[in-house]
Symmetry: D2
Subunit: 483 residues, 4 copies
């Protein structure tokens, strides 16, 4: 049974042209003029784009005895509703837990996913077992490893462990990711703020200034350079870490930066809201920054120093957020965004001219697929690719609201934002999931997408590092030791 | 009559995969496994890539009563021999000459071209006629205009004229290019050097220090920003102009930078050679720089702050160079490179791991086609594109030498450089032009490639500039004038 | 007849200590504990500092058939009232006018000066006469030359002229200064704004964006580097020009930057005021910028990339400002500040901890005296120095207002600003001029302060440039010319 | 009994003038024309400057069961011979050792010092005792604390401890110093190099690349910023850490950088010498870098982003160095330089025009005295100051050699360097110690120089940090906790 998307304009990361798209089963079968199939979907006035990929989500993430509110069911439904057809979630082993065992646990959560997914594996502790299991994790199609430089006493790893893990990544052709904030300093600042009675949600922002993020980004970059491996820095929120990335790239280092849609469009004034709930709902790490930082991030997207836009979707209900009344360090960190990323980025980016449509596709989908090495199966409108497609109606208007959203939480950090540009249709591996406001996502449809190691950039960098490796000076007549 | 390239690995700017390529007439007809056609070309062990595009050549350029030695015949043959299947040359109107008349003169030179070509139109003077004719030039398929900030008293335009022309470009959806060196300062330094008896070829380098280039690049960027138009800076040779580009891009400005293969690999020590001819043959503007600048340029290519690699091919014989004996300002500026650009870049870039193969394709072909708005007709391996294809043998070795080169000049600035990686076959619009060392380029085969204005980036920038344009403050009660 | 300042704490650019100061005639005679003299002035609780020096004023400046409102009488009285004991004004020759003749005209204006003064000579045109007279100007004690890169068609010089003049400065051991804005672009933007009906005072700000200033600063720096001479950039108002300065200094170039007290503390929102007069009164070049730029300037002062704080005092009455009703290009450019510079800088700088007291002295006095080569006659509390002294009461409070100010104009751009820190006594060459709010400035007391050329930095730079000058490559066997 | 230095030209950090200097006992009694005293010293043709201060030495430093070869006797004699009249050494408590006990041990070593000295106290471990004793250390006149970010398993402290100690410094008005190299990464790289058989002295350099230093500098800066305290980074050897310093200063942060004379003038090629001893004698941390880094450091000195020049004098004999045959990690780290710092800096800096004479005085003496808060007792030619004076003969020539040097070691890293500019006389607290090549240093003459906390910059920064401290948002209606 075939489907055809007709009369649309295809927009990919590299070009824009009018053509129909024929889908057979779960694949793109043909692209060209005047195609026909069993079902025809009218894309008149619309852009036909690769479905979005969110490289950074936390669905059903364990947290202090509870879980982040959106699981793979509501989370992937929200994704699809916003034009995103794949998510990459984080598998977080507990200290001393086997990576493989954790992976099994995470895999169990995905049975109700309605769109495709992959994982990043987190390195939350270090030891021979971790070293060994990393190879198996790569073999299972997960060649990307996350490292937390913050969350001291919990997920945080130190420089030693990070260097060891990055070297292991280099050897396995895998990509290390980091959450970049100096955990020691965040912990110390938090303690001081609480001691000073500064216990409200704004204290969370005070405890994680831009300099603290920039420092960690800078440190991770150096360690990756020494280990000879590319690096991916998640949720780049500020000029400081962005500057570290630019500085590294200008030395030929291979570093990627991921801003979130939240940091691109929301600012720190949210934390100063007089309503505790309002402020607490926006608590995430890193916190929102000011407009100067936003300008920096937008420029990074258009200039290529930042490559992708994510959500770090990690939704907690107001009730869960209230755990932190009287102590901001207990407010669960995270906000939603899966349903909103693409419409908000389109509205604030493409409609203003900050991004071209092609750049929009690149940062929401194609670049992610390339960096995570699943291109062009994902991230492309090309024959043979998975039919993950969004038919984007640039005239479609909507005011974002928690009412009617797919996420199960009771608010939305983008509440009231008016967007122009939203999906008319969304296909996930060939199945229609969204038709305007009608959500037909099918729970259980989503599948795991295995990825290969040794992406081209990894290999090139290894070559360069080999060529420029330290060379021993050959000497004769070395004296006897002085001892 | 069809051709098939079999058993190769296709390498494009965005991916690498095994497939055959079927060519029918001058177009790519199909891409896929197991294709067949009338003629089959074996690409076993090879990469099948879009033919190179050189965005910057000067063939048969008039100069002091003579012409640059390579014309469209030998020049395009050299291009093909090195895997380049299209050149973009510069049409240079004389002062007060009609742009259209000049274009006619340039067009006349192209009858023997053996590969496709396009033009950039130079703005060498300013007036209502130029303003008006720019529209016609764009209509004729040439939406890019070159501006010389150096060559005082000849090609140079001043800030006023540049701003006026850039504004005109913005209105026409065209792309301004600049040769960035401060012509006033170059002239004054040259005069001083000659007065000091510093008249050798090294004086040429002394007269054009990196700071002088960086200043001009910085100025052109500001003017483009004020005019609201993207900018393309040709022959970026040094950290100073590269820094200006990076700084601009980080503010969201749309600026492109083009290093030459010469500046990436040759350094200033060439000018200190004791052999006058050796030094004079390397005289070009900007001059070669030191290793630190080379590192900067390479990093620009991998990080994306520089996008394309050109040659500025403008070949003069030793005899022509000797015009400048006793006065370096009379040495004709220019070096060759058309045949060498791709093998040298592959050897020094891909073989060392500084660039991936995909990045190689991007900077030699695809990015150029995109920026100059002729993608994917050129710069792509995609169905329907022109069959400009190079089958690249990564094992093929060669020592570059003037002996046997296609260029008509009697030397080669890369003399003695050993390359690994060269074309096995080169196709230009479906015709086989090169088979290893056999050159079958057909004079007259090349055609003009018209290009459209209003590339996506131009349009996006215009939107942003409109949104952020100065807004008048509405006031009541304005006082009477004080006069 | 002697005077003693007793019980104060001396604060200089390099230290802070308790001592009395004995003045004999116009000089500092002694510094130490327990000094006595004919008149004693109690400095208990106060800081005894070198009198301020304003390196940038325009008193009685000719403008469109009228003059700036404050002349050397009211201007120097305002200076003294605010703790400033010397001003450096600009002599502006008309096109083709002899520098010496202009100097005579300017000198005539100074007869009523109540504090000491010097001049910078402006290079407003170029020719053999100017070249020759520059030597005489230096001989007369004026080794600093101003160049306007803006005010096209009036004061502006082009790159050629600037380079020639800078080279002449290098030879004479003089210091070039620049007003850095790209005059061509300002003119074109102004024209466009007016054409769009954008004729209010905010149009002035729109016509001179930070990028336009930064470009000119960058260009002047390159030209100074090529000429081998230090450079002083007046009224650095924004990050763009400051960045250019920092970048230059980090290459070892000798560049100074002068922010104004206005740009440090007032921002662009003033131009959006609904009251035309309010906005027009703030029209100056460069215009006020936003807070980000202010932060940049403050950091420059504490880090040493910016060295001095001036006023560019050039006061016009509201009536004069109204000349520009309906056409912002006709609003006379300039604001006052002489009386306010030191109290405002103290309040916003020292009281907030952005500057130490020593840094305050450095940027208001000592650095200026050093750069302009009149240290320690001026700018120091040292035996033998001119007794230009301010006894600063850090507790003294005042709300700045046009009411009661010394300037003759009818408003004050700092109206309503509350300052803490103001002079208790001000001495000019040993004479008491100010005692709290009592002004006893004596018209005619001020004298011209001649300055020497070849400041230490000029000499060092010349040495370095000589050592690193281009060296001719000696060759044999140079071929015959190709002609 | 008085002494007069006659006929010289006094050169201080802020000016240059002809005057005699009268010394009475250990102090400068008078400065002026035509002074007389019991002994007259002819300074005709010479510059009379404040004696040098070396802010960074390790005399008789315990190391692996032995000691650095120069103790306070030979070390201070070497200092005086080169025009340096004060050293600041590092007191290094063993793990868990009382700071006060360590201080006693260090104090014991100083009995034979022939010039004045002070200490920095190292924080090598952390605990309540250290926290408490820091106050006592400050009370004893030592308000500066050193932190090692390298030497893992020995002196190294982690971020937590550093933050705690920096906060303590802020509270005590003290200045933290750091040795900035990432110790974890150095250890890992060293291990890898040794494993690869890369065990020669060049391995030392390979194990400590510039990026590793830059990272640590950047991290220390962030931590100091969070703690609200100025920071002093010792032995800044490369552009990477210098860049971090500049970036910080441009944000208004108060950071000082100290290049060594070695890094300014010697480069990494020394480690590639075929003679093992030659290379090993140059082993120090950070290692020598290339010319690009040297240019950066020189520019830092003239632009003010780096403030002082030190030696890190820590001399080991060839025999001691040979402990590391077969394992570079066992080569004792350190080189000499006390006798050579000033002549080499003068020759390479002042004689080339890279520095003015005043800047020479600033970076070798005055800035150090200011930053370490003992100005103008030290670092000044001013009445009442300690008579630590060098009479500098700018014509005096010398070829540096181990033969005849004051240091007890058997080589000199500057062997063969020709200097022009050396002391004619050196006075230490009024006593003549050096007369050209005659050394009359008197062992035991040197005294401890106590220093005060709360330098002006500390106080200013504290004010600024207080003003900009996080403010709690006052809220009503805070919800009940969600738990
Ligand atoms: Zn995170
Ligand atoms: Zn996350
Ligand atoms: Zn050119
Ligand atoms: Zn060219
Ligand atoms: Zn001005
Ligand atoms: Zn002015
Ligand atoms: Zn150290
Ligand atoms: Zn040390």
């Amino acid at each position: 049974m075939s489907k055809v998307i007709k009369n649309g304009t295809i927009v990919t990361a590299d070009r824009t042209w009018k053509a129909d798209v024929l889908i057979k089963h779960d694949k793109i079968e043909a692209i060209g003029p005047d195609l026909h199939g069993d079902h025809e979907f009218d894309a008149t006035g619309c852009y036909v784009m690769p479905g979005g990929i969110d490289p950074h989500t936390h669905l059903e993430m364990p947290f202090m005895g509870t879980y982040s509110a959106d699981d793979f069911e509501s989370g992937t439904r929200a994704a699809l509703a916003g034009g995103t057809t794949m998510v990459v979630d984080f598998c977080l082993p507990a200290p001393q837990q086997s990576l493989l065992e954790a992976l099994q646990m995470w895999d169990n959560k995905t049975s109700k996913a309605s769109c495709d997914y992959s994982f990043h594996m987190a390195i939350t502790w270090w030891g021979k077992q971790v070293f060994d299991e990393m190879a198996t994790v790569v073999d299972k199609g997960i060649p990307s490893f996350k490292h937390f430089m913050a969350y001291k006493g919990a997920l945080m790893v130190d420089d030693d462990e990070m260097y060891a893990s990055f070297q292991r990544c280099a050897a396995l052709g895998a990509l290390p990711l980091v959450h970049a904030e100096n955990g020691d300093v965040v912990a110390a600042l938090s303690e001081k703020l609480l001691a000073d009675g500064n216990n409200g949600p704004e204290g969370h922002a005070y405890s994680r200034p831009p300099e603290v993020e920039g420092e960690a980004a800078n440190r991770a970059i150096m360690i990756a350079d020494m280990a000879g491996v590319p690096l991916y820095i998640v949720h780049v929120s500020c000029e400081q870490s962005h500057e570290a990335i630019r500085r590294a790239r200008q030395k030929g280092m291979r570093v990627y930066g991921e801003p979130l849609i939240q940091h691109l469009t929301l600012d720190e004034s949210e934390y100063f809201d007089k309503d505790w709930d309002h402020a607490a709902r926006r608590v995430m790490s890193p916190p929102f920054r000011n407009k100067m930082h936003q300008d920096s991030l937008w420029a990074g997207l258009s200039s290529g120093s930042l490559q992708v836009v994510a959500t770090d979707h990690c939704a907690f209900t107001t009730k869960q957020k209230r755990t932190g009344v009287g102590d901001f360090t207990k407010i669960p960190n995270g906000t939603g965004g899966l349903e909103d990323r693409m419409p908000v980025l389109w509205t604030r980016g493409v409609n203003t001219g900050r991004l071209t449509m092609n750049e929009f596709v690149a940062v929401t989908s194609t670049n992610i697929a390339k960096i995570l090495n699943m291109y062009p199966r994902k991230g492309a409108i090309v024959e043979g690719a998975d039919a993950d497609i969004v038919v984007w109606d640039p005239k479609r208007k909507k005011t974002i609201s928690a009412k009617g959203q797919q996420s199960v939480i009771d608010y939305n950090v983008f509440e009231g934002v008016e967007v122009t540009g939203a999906p008319r249709f969304v296909f996930t591996r060939g199945e229609l999931a969204i038709e305007e406001s009608k959500v037909e996502a099918r729970s259980g449809h989503g599948e795991f997408v295995p990825r290969e190691p040794y992406q081209a950039v990894n290999r090139a960098l290894s070559t360069w590092k080999e060529i420029t490796a330290p060379r021993k000076v050959e000497r004769t007549g070395i004296p006897a030791t002085g001892v």
